[in-house]
Symmetry: C2
Subunit: 263 residues, 2 copies
């Protein structure tokens, strides 16, 4: 076949020539040079509010369903940096506890028609479907989050999630399992506001572990560590008598976590 | 600029034209259609032999250094299948315990000259450098491994590894940490031959955890679970008196692992 072409010519205007090769080069360039093609970081951001464990969801401009915050990975950066950067732009925070927990794959032949149609066409890298999602979870102080990206945000209770894009339901479920497994070594107090009641801390453990603790025993346990400081202030506006507020000494907390906090 | 090209022409033989566009198309095709570009599965295969925890290393034909077994991921497969398939071709086994533990990144600007030179040119997908490595570890019965791929193999003691390609030293270290963390839920008896002595099992735990157990207490602990079956046979060729051989009831073992085996 090749041989037959040898003596034949093609006349192209330079415009055409550059259009054809340029488009290909662009595609190669786009794929190769800036981002790692087919890979994204997807993040389950846990927050705690009203005695409920919640997850931050967003709806990108142009999308018609909710999803977890996610972003591309540059070829020149470490995955963790991509996750931290994405968290920063999403929440406005830069002192967030982030943990890689599992990597998910979405084989191309299993994509649903929805995600195919919705995402293959768009130029927004946050919306592009990816074959590989490196899953991170983050512990976020609910009250301090100030999103810095365009889109609609909501905190959703884990027990009551809306329909999500991609495999983001699986991601949330796996993140919760990982959180439970790692609980004794995790700084989950980062989910609490800077001043909190012991009841709030107990509720946090109970919510994550999905079980109840005896109040007295749990408080005794907490106070057996020295990282909690009782404040003179009391919480106002509670239904019952005003409980004391506590704060955490993060240096002592970190060293207690080294050995693991039992509950 | 574009405007000036409009009236100018380029004369290409069809051969040239196809050579130029074809090469680009091929490159796009190779990148997009079969494998997920820039992603590999890299596997730390643990084996236990001579009271030592060992790792399977291989030297691919054409490579001049050792590395962990690794392979590409097809765009149509789940990562776990890629890992299991690679394990199967590497060891000849298909009932291996495999666990994803962490995903590593190797930003393109941090590649060492060695790995760049060695791997960018080759067509062997096992040798191609990848920006993202999804790390798995596997528990492998040392005695049953029969490699099915070309290359040189060796079991290397963890304390005495040779120089390795890529970030494979980091991978092994992280895999060992993950193994320790998950120990109580892991079927690590899969590292033992089908018949083993209690001393071998104790040594296995000691090696992984890098600490010593009291023999009597450890044996008492093991026998408190009902998954071990004492065989009439004894191990011959031991230095001391011949110890009894044991075998494992994997159904009972699996259910004991659900709750975690404490040590």
């Amino acid at each position: 076949m090749r041989k037959n072409y040898a003596n034949k010519c093609v006349f192209l205007t330079l415009t055409d020539y550059f259009r054809i090769t340029g488009r290909m080069t662009q595609k190669l360039h786009r794929q190769q040079q800036v981002f790692i093609n087919d890979v994204s970081v997807d993040c389950v951001m846990f927050g705690f509010h009203d005695y409920q464990l919640k997850v931050l969801l967003l709806k990108w401009p142009g999308a018609n369903a909710w999803s977890l915050p996610r972003g591309p990975v540059r070829r020149t950066e470490v995955i963790m940096d991509a996750a931290v950067g994405m968290l920063h732009t999403t929440t406005g925070l830069d002192d967030v506890f982030v943990q890689q927990f599992q990597t998910f794959s979405r084989p191309s032949d299993r994509w649903t028609e929805t995600s195919k149609n919705e995402f293959s066409a768009t130029a927004n890298p946050h919306l592009a479907a990816s074959l590989i999602a490196v899953g991170f979870y983050a512990l976020v102080d609910f009250e301090r989050v100030r999103p810095r990206v365009q889109g609609t945000f909501q905190w959703s209770e884990i027990a009551d999630l809306p329909d999500l894009l991609f495999d983001h339901h699986d991601l949330i479920e796996s993140a919760l399992l990982a959180l439970r497994k790692d609980l004794r070594y995790l700084p989950i107090a980062k989910l609490l506001p800077s001043k909190f009641t012991l009841r709030e801390m107990q509720k946090l453990y109970e919510t994550i572990l999905n079980r109840a603790f005896d109040r007295r025993n749990f408080h005794k346990l907490l106070m057996s560590y020295d990282f909690l400081t009782k404040l003179p202030e009391k919480k106002t506006g509670s239904q019952n008598k005003s409980p004391h507020l506590y704060t955490i000494d993060f240096d002592k907390y970190e060293s207690a976590l080294q050995d693991g906090i039992s509950y």
